[in-house]
Symmetry: D3
């Protein structure tokens, strides 16, 4: 199967890392393609950034449908554009927050999310509610690290995040940790070893869930509010998004 993993920001160093982490857990017969959109923000750290990442994501989905992609992963912990993407894709579309939280609920009775900036914690809580995972989420904790700090070779991010994960176990009484940023995907195993508890990376989880759905021959239902959008005119710089 062909799996397209979309890093919704335009920072390609992160896209490559995400692609490597995805490939590392993918089945042998899964062909992983990792991309960043051709427009949008360099990182996603606000509702504003998130909203403006969606046109680029949908552009990648529309292209993917031409390229016979079997499933998509949206690799930002806010799961931007997830429902819109499901409307236009034939195969499954999985968000990494969605996948990580679902998986975490199978591995422990409670998880803490450890993410970058405090201002994004509320978004994570909102997703936990949307996915039914709020009852398993004991806390959402920020490291006060901007997203792109994770891409800086000499940064102290690794240590800061590991420390916050350790505190999460101790203070929140959680059984496991969900990493709250796609840019942390490569730290998963190392932190798990350091803290002695399961650490869940949404990139890996989303890849496995997308594979699972395709393998079980399950695709998005087209009966409800994820049906294909009605054709209509689009204007201005978005004119090309008109479907038919």
């Amino acid at each position: 199967m062909k799996l397209k993993i979309i890093n919704p920001n335009t920072t390609w160093s992160m896209t490559e890392k995400i692609g490597q982490c995805a490939s590392a857990v993918a089945n042998a017969d899964t062909h992983v393609v990792a991309v960043s959109p051709r427009m949008g923000p360099a990182s996603i750290e606000s509702h504003y950034d998130e909203a403006l990442s969606v046109p680029g994501i949908l552009d990648e989905i529309l292209q993917g449908e031409q390229e016979n992609v079997d499933a998509y992963v949206i690799a930002c912990f806010g799961d931007p554009g997830l429902y819109a993407a499901r409307e236009v894709a034939r195969g499954p579309v999985i968000g990494i927050a969605e996948a990580a939280m679902h998986m975490a609920s199978l591995v422990g009775t409670s998880f803490s999310v450890v993410t970058t900036l405090a201002r994004t914690c509320n978004m994570a809580w909102h997703l936990a509610e949307r996915y039914g995972m709020k009852r398993f989420c004991s806390n959402v904790r920020a490291c006060d690290l901007p997203v792109l700090e994770l891409e800086c070779p000499g940064s102290d991010a690794r240590r800061i995040i590991t420390d916050e994960c350790r505190r999460a176990l101790a203070e929140d009484g959680s059984d496991c940790i969900v990493l709250g940023c796609a840019g942390m995907a490569d730290l998963c195993e190392e932190i798990a070893d350091a803290i002695g508890a399961p650490v869940i990376d949404g990139v890996a989880c989303a890849v496995k869930m997308a594979e699972a759905l395709v393998s079980a021959r399950l695709a998005t239902s087209k009966r409800g509010d994820w049906a294909r959008p009605l054709p209509k005119p689009y204007s201005g710089v978005l004119a090309a998004y008109a479907l038919n």
Copy 2:
């Protein structure tokens, strides 16, 4: 005060109607400006349309900030881009679903939303949850009318909507009705007379709530996740959205 009301779709006949309904309830010293964005979908009837209406809305907000707008209303029942808009506006930003549901909860112990297409009902439920209004919402009902049917002079929309409102009172046991589309704003009084119960139009409610907030000198808190977004590069056709 200067109030900008944004119809997030690009159908200007609807924009004018919304502007008139807004002006009709506004205080004497409120200057209402009604606009449609310069890009985006002709109507909003899916997650896809909604997501792609947001760049146009934010463009209008950014412009509004240059024009000393005191408050904004987003006049689509999905309240697209509401949180992103709050991050970049100095004054209050109110969504019409948000305003209508809050007001409805002061007028009755339960309301039914009557909207256009069935595929959008789930979005209304999602907003009701987000705003804490789910406990007051007894049902969300669709009329199976496309949004732009409301703009057709000879259409039967008026009768169809009134009938659905009547059924809502009878079958849902609701005390009042929330109109689920900005394009229904002009029908509010007529339907209320016909069914003998309060009918709540979000356009009017949002105007009054925006005025109330400005008058009480309350603006969006900049402490939490509605703080101003961090400056960062934006690329491609969205490059102009970069803040500083």
Copy 3:
């Protein structure tokens, strides 16, 4: 329009303060009348006090209906008698806790209530639930100040409350503060300046919401459980409450 604001306790110094705060935010064409009932407790600090404040409130509402009052505000943070008042008033009746919490949810993603005595915190939580605002309420905090301490010229109340508001922002992670007592209405602006975040006073909010409802021509629905009570005999000292 004529707006009657009822301070449900019999302490007229507080009533005057409430009247001034209400007038300060009211529209130019709103005539504000502030009253205390002719019976009941000197302050409201328990379920017992609250229950026994309601006959006085309803007495004021029944009188108001004779005097063509257009809307009422009940100015005690427990919103005593709110639903009973709605049954007998033609126009809207707004509680200050109700108004403050709704407004707060438009201004921030979470609020802390700062109130007087710890024994009333539970009542505030109960109202937050009733109004659907529990999801926005991160904490209800008490200052351990009796209500009437707020009326003592030389009291330290101002400082104590400001300090508690500051702690609320820091410890609860809230974006804004809701003042949990009508007697704090005059402190609103000062505290906001001191703590650098929106502070919401229910008296001002309720006045603006009552005006908004009247201006949008929305009155209490008479279809459900807020319909006018059935006529029936009342006996003893309450005999005069019999409606016809």
Copy 4:
């Protein structure tokens, strides 16, 4: 033990019936006293009636405390004044809706409430939520019978209520029925026989729960918001309610 059961309305024929039903299930060493207050509404069918029944109830509680009453039952399905009564009574105070719903949850996995007028259904839902019993309540159904119709010898109430109970089992999928009015207490056994499912009468349940609490030596905690109210002046016709 001495148990005072208060019928909060002033219709003494109902009070006698309630007293008989209470005595029928009470332990041999329980002395049941059934009373109506000396002021208030002839029946309780609105928020207005309910609010105005509370001064009379509290008057009976205050008297009871002089008479060494060990426990109280408030015998109206709205449980009026329950929390206020708990603040001033030394021993337990139990509401009949509270008792019936708790007991019902031990007897079946879901119950339907069958009550008098539709306008009171919302109150029953509110109590179900307050007591944590909403998850067991599958429906609240009205018979469109005014409360005092239950006191009319030739009325058809018995048949109408039994029919509604039968419909509740069939249509709501409930396991058992909760009678939603103290005036139905004498019908309990007869309806249970007729419909072949448990029928729960709050009067009997509240008596048994009050006895159980006293026997287990459990009284209202005086640490939280049910602590004794602070002493303070009361004015007007309510002056006598001032505690010291």
Copy 5:
């Protein structure tokens, strides 16, 4: 009436203590029989132990039905096998967690559970949710005492538990305490005296509730999912459990 109280573990010293505590609060005409099953774990401290205590409990229920038992109490704070037992018993079956939590909600507005091992806290939360009591439960606290430590004459358990109860009142803001283990039943009065707040022991509460139900002639509804199980073959060492 004949009441069988089942200690689901096989530690008979605990069974005797439970029997004494039950008899101490039972009505004069209640004949209490306390038993442990003839198979199963020596104590219940995990989902594994709990699941494997159920065959023994059901064995006692099946026997009890031969012996005309009128009501049963399951005396382990996890309420193991409660719903299965209700399916096969004619009379009421009450769990001690269930009874304690219900009673606690009548005595205070919030309770803390104080239990043995931290790993069982989650089970208590789950039961609180199941019984609708989550809204009253402010915390579940563990003493890090293995269950059987409570049976050791020289143990420090009494002091440790009392201290934890005291901390619960101070830190959780609870009004009362629920003892989270049947083995603590004999400490109830002593701790209540020590901490000055109601302490609720599920053994006593369950006995009183079982008596109350029998006295009010209420038995498990046989209409829903607590109906008698369908007859079918059972195999292996469980063959004797086949009903007919």
Copy 6:
């Protein structure tokens, strides 16, 4: 990897069918072993049956741990013994209701469960709540088919279930169907074709999720209430369950 799928009832024709359905979706390198326990009920249709299926399930898990099983699936829609199993297994244990509901929430915005007997519907609702999936579950519907009817060659079960699934889509407004019994696993594809919407079989989903977890190197956290049970004596016919 080695995956053991346990049919908790002792009907081996069903076990074989389950094994075939599991193998059909398993990865090429997954070795599926399907078993029934050596003790317990012939089918599971009550809380009683379910509770008594658990000793057999745990026996299979304990054996599996000797046989280096990598992951387990419990193939009964009540997910009996799931948490107990997680405590004693090293690798993941997945229930089929759990897996089906999680997967369904990725495929549609709402699902209906179609199960066998009405008396088990409540159990499905309980699981939906436990897994956080209640918000996606629009209904649980019974076909009034005993479980073993699914094993009868000439039965009309296939048609009855398909008809109920069709009704579910029409009446519940669901986007997809979850089959509520392991014995329906082989009907999945056929019904999906007949009704034109995704049909989710928990056996297939649980196999894929177990593979996904193993492949992502995620195992049950041993920090919380799924830690290995403490060693202790077990007595009677269950003596062999004692761990060390």
